[in-house]
């Protein structure tokens, strides 16, 4: 190729040419570096940052929704992308389509950031957590079929409560496809199997092993699931994001199974206790009733006795009273007879006394009677029925009647002197 063979092209053609060539020659890149100058534009939809090491830095660009985990300046990351030029400015950059935190420190940092973000959004809110059914008839298990986590879970379920059905939807729990697998497992459970409760579990591991259980995507799917989910991850770490968003958090796979079903022995004990309670209450109630009956009957018999006593006393009194009446009658009769006798005597004495008095009175009366005076020669003169005592009692020509000791005389007044 010689200079004279070159043809002029436009700026935009130049940019296109270099971009295409870069992508053809260099292709996909995986770059490790430190994030710096992180900023978002166009209402948080575009993400710009630089990736640097101790000698160089390159501009990076990606769409915000492609970012699955939180990053910040200073974080060591692994970037997946390809080289490109901006169409407008022709500036070189890496078009990033995936970022992973790199190293335990960066992962830890990323985890903290994700946790903070989801916490702010209320995904860990205790009020959003649902209670588990006491006796689940079906239990969905999402885990790796070959893992110890699965056999542990099944063993505990069999020992404690073999009356449910355990339904496994196998899933990768580690590596790149794990997040999508786990989310798909929840989809299958929610849409097709519809168990009463879901156990999402895996054994322990380091922070990198547990990355899928710390993913924001899985956290959001657990949060949106209509069926309560128990998350049980091996206890090497304190927590995973999935633990925090779960309805119930278990320390291990076995612990998840323990939390999901009761132990049959405990239920037998509980049943016995309930029956004991029923018996106790029934006995108490019967005792109360019999006590009440006893009290009522003794009250009744007491009343009866009292009535009977009173009745008997009354009877006795009645009969005693009868005797008394007869006695008293007799007594009174005697008294009456006696009194009568005395009275009679008294009366006869009084009568004879009165007789005497009467005779005396008669004598006195006789002595003081006008007729007795008339016998001495006196007479009584009456004018029209009235005794004439003075000349004023008469007028001339009045006819006077004169009572004598024997007979009467009518006379006319001739002259008043």
């Amino acid at each position: 190729m010689t200079k004279h063979e070159l043809q002029a092209i436009s700026v935009s053609e130049c940019v296109d040419l270099i971009r295409t060539s870069l992508q053809a020659v260099v292709g996909d890149l995986i770059i490790d570096g430190e994030v710096s100058g992180l900023q978002t534009r166009s209402g948080n939809t575009l993400l710009f940052f630089s990736l640097k090491d101790d000698q160089s830095y390159i501009d990076c660009f990606m769409l915000s929704h492609e970012l699955k985990a939180q990053i910040e300046d200073g974080m060591e990351v692994r970037v997946y992308g390809y080289p490109s030029l901006y169409k407008k400015s022709g500036k070189f950059h890496i078009r990033v389509n995936r970022i992973e935190a790199k190293g335990e420190g960066a992962l830890q940092k990323q985890l903290e950031l994700t946790k903070k973000k989801l916490e702010r959004e209320g995904l860990f809110d205790p009020s959003r957590k649902r209670a588990l059914p006491k006796f689940p008839r079906s239990i969905g298990i999402i885990t790796s079929e070959d893992a110890a986590a699965f056999t542990d879970t099944i063993r505990v379920l069999s020992n404690r409560w073999p009356y449910s059905e355990a339904i496994l939807v196998p899933s990768r729990v580690q590596g790149k496809p794990a997040i999508k697998n786990l989310i798909r497992g929840i989809d299958v459970m929610e849409n097709r199997i519809r168990p009463d409760v879901i156990i999402l579990t895996r054994g322990g591991g380091n922070l990198e092993d547990l990355q899928s259980f710390n993913s924001e995507e899985l956290a959001r799917r657990i949060f949106s699931c209509a069926i309560p989910i128990v998350v049980g991850v091996g206890h090497e770490r304190d927590w995973t994001i999935a633990d925090l968003v779960a309805d119930v958090r278990a320390a291990t796979p076995s612990n998840a199974a323990e939390l999901v079903v009761p132990h049959k022995d405990d239920i037998v004990l509980q049943l016995d206790a309930l029956v004991d309670g029923l018996r106790h209450t029934m006995r108490r109630r019967l005792e109360m009733v019999s006590h009440h009956l006893f009290r009522t009957s003794s009250l009744l018999s007491a009343h009866m006795e009292s009535y009977l006593g009173r009745f008997t006393a009354l009877l006795q009194k009645v009969s005693f009273f009868g005797e008394r009446v007869a006695e008293r009658a007799k007594f009174f009769r005697g008294r009456v007879e006696e009194k009568a006798k005395v009275a009679l005597v008294g009366i006869s004495v009084q009568v004879s006394q009165k007789k005497k008095l009467l005779a005396q009175a008669v004598v006195v009366l006789k002595k003081t009677s006008p007729t007795h005076i008339l016998q001495k020669g006196y007479s009584i003169t009456l004018n029209k029925g009235k005794v004439v005592r003075s000349r004023n009692d008469v007028k001339e020509h009045d006819i006077l009647r004169i009572h004598l000791s024997e007979g009467e005389i009518e006379s006319e007044v001739k002259k008043i002197t």
Partner: protein
């Protein structure tokens, strides 16, 4: 154990708990009614215990293509 029976285990257990609670909290209750509740409680408890016989956990595996699919 079928789903139906398992469901009724929860329901019956709840019923027994309810009966016991009611039974213990009520005072001045008719003796005939007491005896009825008591006998119903014992009956349910017996049925529940019968269900707790020795059985093996039923395990079902859902085989899905996505299990091994290496999706991004």
């Amino acid at each position: 154990m079928t789903k139906k029976i398992e469901k009724s285990f929860a329901e019956q257990f709840e019923e027994l708990e309810k009966i016991t609670q009611q039974f213990e909290s009520q005072e001045d209750v008719d003796l005939d009614e007491s005896v009825k509740q008591f006998e119903r409680g014992l009956e349910i408890a017996q049925e529940l215990k019968k269900r707790l016989s020795d059985v093996e956990l039923k395990v079902r595996r859902i085989q899905e293509k996505f299990n091994t699919a290496d999706e991004n």
